[in-house]
């Protein structure tokens, strides 16, 4: 997962075509999508970590668990 290639090629192709077409709106849309996906991954990484902490607390914490 961590070594999976970032989709730079896809973004590069999109950037090339949108630039050639001169479509500023599509370029902006693409930029927003790239930004949104980066933020999504940051949140999903934290989400995975929180799930691991929850499991850890359940296994080793006994009666102790996270506050909701």
């Amino acid at each position: 997962m961590s070594s999976q290639t970032h989709a730079d090629a896809e973004d590069t192709i999109s950037y090339f075509f949108f630039t050639v077409l001169g479509d500023e709106q599509l370029l902006r849309q693409m930029s927003l999508e790239v930004l949104a996906f980066s933020e999504y991954l940051v949140h999903f990484g934290a989400h995975s970590y929180l799930k691991a902490l929850l499991r850890y607390s359940a296994v080793f914490g006994g009666t102790k668990s996270f506050r909701q």
Partner: protein, 191 residues
């Protein structure tokens, strides 16, 4: 109003989370609160529990590493390095998946299988290193051979210390993630 946790995070990492990224504050606050809670699990564990559940220390350490990846992804995103934030976030997912997979079954066996998988992979890399020496001069190859022998000795010691489990092997990260539940893909997000 930023929580004390978030302020400490910003000071420690020498950054300021941009005001426009409200979700970033919430994320950092949630992660740090949860991390504090999990730390108290280990701190409050009795000696009997530590003896009965020997993997707790290793898993705690793995969670620490996973946290560093999460923190790095936040720092990268907050400092406008989105592509690198993605890489750190993927590493956080993988590290967290490893922990959850270990916790979901026979912990002792899975921890040992995880260590053994590294040793097997490392042995392959050492062999590849040795094969690559044909492209080097005799003097250079000699220096590399010393390094290869030293690394093999270290790995032999590692193999000896990882023996003793029931011999289960470690599936790929894709299989481990699949067993833990559904996930989302980039393609799915964009559709």
């Amino acid at each position: 109003m930023h929580s004390e946790n978030v302020k400490v995070f910003e000071q420690y990492h020498l950054i300021t989370i941009p005001d426009v990224w409200d979700r970033g504050y919430t994320l950092v606050d949630s992660v740090l609160n949860a991390r504090d809670e999990s730390t108290s699990v280990l701190a409050s564990a009795s000696e009997e529990k530590l003896v009965a559940k020997p993997t707790i220390g290793i898993i705690e350490q793995l969670l620490d590493r996973a946290y560093e990846h999460v923190a790095a992804s936040v720092v990268c995103f907050a400092t406008k390095n989105g592509a690198t934030a993605e890489i750190a976030a993927r590493a956080a997912m993988e590290a967290s998946t490893n922990v959850r997979y270990i916790l979901a079954g026979d912990r002792n066996s899975r921890v040992l299988a995880w260590l053994r998988a590294f040793l097997v992979q490392d042995s392959k890399q050492i062999n590849n290193w040795e094969r690559a020496l044909s492209n080097h001069s005799a003097n250079e190859a000699e220096v590399h051979r010393e390094g290869i022998q030293r690394r093999r000795r270290v790995r032999e010691n590692g193999k000896n210390s990882s023996r003793g489990s029931n011999g289960s092997s470690r599936p790929s990260v894709c299989i481990r993630a699949t067993k833990l539940g559904p996930s989302l893909s980039r393609r799915a997000l964009r559709q």
